[in-house]
C-alpha cells in the first residue's frame, strides 16, 4: 500500500471508513510529511498538530460509535491564511495582523470542521491575496515543489504547494482574479473558482468584495468536487450569498469520469489563445493537445470571440484596488493587529499612518494608492464606474458565447511557473499572469483549472493548466468536462504529478 500521504482524498476517506487506517494515522502521516518536507517548500505559516490530532481522534471516536460520517471525514486539509479560524493565528500574509488570533470561525471553516475534515494548519499567501506568486507574503517565500527555485503561483501559493507536495490531499484557496486557478495550473493540481455568491465570504479577510470567492484545491477533479460540496451553500451571514442550492458537482465529476462528451459544444476563446503574443509556445502546444482530447471524447469544438476580454486586465486593476483601498481602511490600529508610534503624544491619525506604513508591504500600498486615486472625486466615473460597466460588457460576451457553446476553454495562465524574484521589480510583469483568469472573475462565473501536460520550454518540465469556464451556477459543467478530460489524459499519459521531483526522504 502507498504511504498514507500519497492517497488522494477520496481514497483516504475510503480507507478510514473501511477501517484500514485511522484518522489519527492519516493526520500523523501528513504532519510527519510536513516536518520532513515543508522546510524546503515553506507552504505553511502555522501548523496546528494538536488541533489536527484532536480532530482526527474525534472522527475515529465517532466512527467507533457507529455514527454516520461525511464523505471527507478524517481527510486532512490545508487552509489559506485569509480564512479566519477561531483560536488559530490568522494573518492574511500581512505583518499588520501578526499574532492576531480570531475570536470566531469563518463560515467555511465551520463547514470544514462539521464535515469531519482535519485542518492541518494555515498556508502562506500573497499579502491580503494581492499577487500571483506568493512572493508578496510578509513572512516567507513558498517554493514550487516541481522546482524549488520557482514560485508556486499565487495568491493561494501555500495551498497549491501543499497539495502538490503531498502535505495535504486538499486545501482551500481564494480567487479574486485567478488566485486559485493560476496556482493550481503552475503546480500541476486541480483548482476551481466557484460562481460568485455560492461559497460564503463570511470570515474571509476582504480584498475585493465583489470578486473574492473561496474554492477548493485537490489532486483529482473528484477530490476537488468533494471539497466544493462541503464549502458551498447559502449563508445568511453574507448578504451576497445566493439563496439557492448549487448544482451537484460530485455527481458531475463522477459522470464526467465515464469519458463521454458526445454532443458537448466547446468554445475556444480567440482572445485567450495568444494571438497577440505573450503566451509561451509550450503552453499553447499543451492547450491545443487538450482541445484535441476533448474532440476525441465527442465534443464539438468551435472558436468563439469575446472582444471585451481585452479590457479585463484594465477593469480588474481598477476594481480590485478600488475595493481594497476601502476594505483595508479597517486596519486602523484600534481594534486588532499592529499599532506603531503610539507614544502618548501622537494623534490617532498619525498613529494610523505610521501603523499602516509599517504593517503593509509595497504591493498593498501600491494598490491602496491606485484605489484611492481611482475613487477620487472627478475620477470615479472615468475609472471605477467605467470598469463596472466593462464588467457588464464582459458578462455580455460570456452570455453570447454560452448561447453557442456549453463551456469555454483557454490556457489557465500564459506561462508556466517562473523563477523566484524574476517578476518582483515590475508590478505589471506580475499582473499579466492573470490574463486568462480575469474574465470569469469579473463576470462572477465559475471556472476550473485541470492539469493538461508538461512544458519544458522554460527549462525543466513544468505543468500547464487547462481552464474550463461555464455559465453562472453551472459549476457542474466545469467538473463534468474536467473529469472527462482528466480520465482521458490519465489513460494516455498517467498523472502529471507522477513527474514531480521527489522531496523528503527520497531526495
Amino acid at each position: 500500500m502507498a504511504a498514507l500521504y500519497e492517497l488522494d482524498a477520496a481514497q483516504t476517506a475510503q480507507a478510514i471508513a473501511a477501517g484500514q487506517a485511522s484518522a489519527v494515522d492519516v493526520a500523523r502521516a501528513h504532519l510527519d510529511r510536513i516536518t520532513e518536507v515543508d522546510g524546503d517548500v515553506q507552504a505553511f505559516l502555522h501548523v496546528d498538530s494538536d488541533g489536527a490530532l484532536a480532530a482526527a481522534r474525534d472522527v475515529d471516536a465517532r466512527r467507533a460509535a457507529g455514527e454516520p460520517l461525511g464523505p471527507l471525514a478524517g481527510v486532512p486539509l490545508a487552509m489559506k491564511d485569509v480564512v479566519v479560524t477561531a483560536g488559530l493565528p490568522t494573518t492574511s500574509g500581512s505583518k499588520i495582523l501578526q499574532g492576531w488570533i480570531p475570536p470566531y470561525d469563518a463560515t467555511i471553516t465551520r463547514r470544514v470542521k462539521e464535515a469531519g475534515i482535519v485542518m492541518l494548519g494555515k498556508t502562506n499567501m500573497d499579502e491580503f491575496a494581492m499577487g500571483s506568486s506568493t512572493e508578496n507574503s510578509a513572512y516567507q517565500v513558498t517554493r514550487n515543489p516541481w522546482d524549488l527555485s520557482r514560485v508556486p503561483g499565487g495568491s493561494s501559493g501555500g495551498s497549491s504547494a501543499a497539495v502538490a507536495a503531498h502535505l495535504a490531499p486538499l486545501s482551500v484557496g481564494t480567487d479574486t482574479g485567478g488566485s486559485i486557478r493560476q496556482p493550481a495550473a503552475v503546480t500541476g493540481i486541480v483548482g476551481h473558482k466557484p460562481t460568485y455568491g455560492t461559497v460564503s465570504r463570511y470570515g474571509l479577510i476582504a480584498f475585493s468584495s465583489s470578486l473574492d470567492q473561496a474554492g477548493p484545491f485537490g489532486r483529482t477533479v473528484l477530490d476537488t468536487a468533494l471539497l466544493h460540496q462541503v464549502l458551498a451553500g447559502h449563508d445568511p451571514a453574507d448578504s451576497t450569498s445566493i439563496p439557492q442550492a448549487g448544482p451537484d458537482v460530485v455527481a458531475a465529476a463522477r459522470d464526467g469520469a465515464r469519458g463521454d462528451l458526445t454532443g458537448l459544444r466547446v468554445g475556444v476563446v480567440t482572445e485567450l489563445t495568444g494571438a497577440s503574443g505573450g503566451y509561451q509556445q509550450g503552453v499553447l502546444e499543451k492547450f491545443r493537445d487538450a482541445v484535441a482530447i476533448l474532440q476525441k471524447l465527442g465534443a464539438e469544438v468551435v472558436e468563439v470571440s469575446c472582444p471585451h476580454f481585452d479590457y479585463a486586465l484594465a477593469a480588474y486593476y481598477l476594481i480590485a484596488p478600488s475595493e481594497c483601498s476601502s476594505n483595508l481602511a479597517r486596519f486602523d490600529a484600534v481594534r486588532y493587529g499592529l499599532r506603531a508610534g503610539d507614544d502618548g503624544a501622537r494623534s490617532l491619525e498619525d498613529v494610523m499612518s505610521l501603523t499602516r506604513e509599517q504593517g503593509f508591504g509595497p504591493e498593498v500600498k501600491r494598490r491602496i494608492m491606485i484605489g484611492t486615486y481611482a475613487l477620487s472625486s472627478g475620477y470615479y466615473d472615468a475609472y471605477y464606474g467605467q470598469a463596472q460597466k466593462v464588467r457588464t460588457l464582459i458578462a455580455g460576451d460570456f452570455a453570447t458565447a454560452f448561447g453557442q457553446v456549453d463551456v469555454l476553454v483557454s490556457p489557465t495562465s500564459p506561462f508556466v511557473a517562473f523563477g523566484i524574484g524574476e517578476r518582483t521589480a515590475d508590478p505589471m510583469a506580475m499582473y499579466v499572469n492573470d490574463l486568462c483568469t480575469l474574465p470569469a472573475s469579473l463576470a462572477g462565473t465559475p471556472a476550473i483549472s485541470v492539469p493538461c501536460g508538461l512544458s519544458d520550454e522554460a527549462g525543466p518540465a513544468l505543468p500547464v493548466g487547462l481552464q474550463i469556464m461555464a455559465p453562472a451556477m453551472a459549476d457542474d459543467r466545469c467538473y463534468r468536462v474536467g473529469a472527462a478530460f482528466e480520465a482521458a489524459y490519465l489513460a494516455e499519459n498517467g498523472p502529471v504529478l507522477r513527474h514531480i521531483q521527489t522531496l523528503g526522504a527520497g531526495r
Binding site: I101, R339, S347, K389
Partner: protein, 129 residues
C-alpha cells in the same frame, strides 16, 4: 522596461492594443501623469506615512500602472448598467432576531491597547486642532 524571460513581447505591451492606437486621438488613453507630489497626497489620503525612497519608487510605478489601466476609457460604455454580482440580488432580508454577539473579552483580546474593558485610542485631535 526590460522584457521578461520567456515572453515574446514585453509584458507592458499586453496592456495596449498597439502603440499606434495608444496615440490616435480616438483612442483616448492619455492620462495627465502622476507626479511625486500627487503620490504624496494619495499616501496622505490613504493614511500611509510613506518614506522619501518609497515616494521615488511608487511615483514611477503608479504612473506606469495608471497609464495602462487608463485604456478602460476607450470602451464606449455610455448607458450600460454596472455589474457587481453574477446573480444580481435585491433586498436581501433576514428575520429580525436577536443573536448573541462575541464575548467582550474575546474581542478585546485582539486589540493593540485596552483600558477599562474598552479599546484604548490615541488622542483623536492633534495639538494644532
Amino acid at each position: 522596461m526590460s522584457p521578461i524571460r520567456g515572453l515574446s513581447v514585453p509584458p507592458s505591451r499586453l496592456w495596449l492594443v498597439s502603440e499606434d492606437r495608444a496615440h490616435t486621438p480616438g483612442g483616448d488613453v492619455a492620462h495627465a501623469g502622476l507626479t511625486r507630489d500627487e503620490v504624496a497626497h494619495l499616501a496622505r489620503l490613504a493614511r500611509l506615512a510613506v518614506t522619501e525612497e518609497e515616494l521615488d519608487l511608487f511615483a514611477g510605478q503608479l504612473d506606469v500602472i495608471i497609464g495602462s489601466i487608463a485604456r478602460i476609457r476607450e470602451v464606449a460604455a455610455g448607458d450600460i448598467a454596472p455589474t457587481s454580482h453574477a446573480v444580481p440580488l435585491q433586498n436581501v432580508l433576514r428575520p429580525d432576531q436577536v443573536s448573541p454577539s462575541l464575548p467582550r473579552q474575546a474581542v478585546l483580546a485582539g486589540a493593540p491597547a485596552v483600558e477599562d474593558d474598552r479599546f484604548r485610542v490615541p488622542q483623536i485631535l492633534g495639538e494644532e486642532e
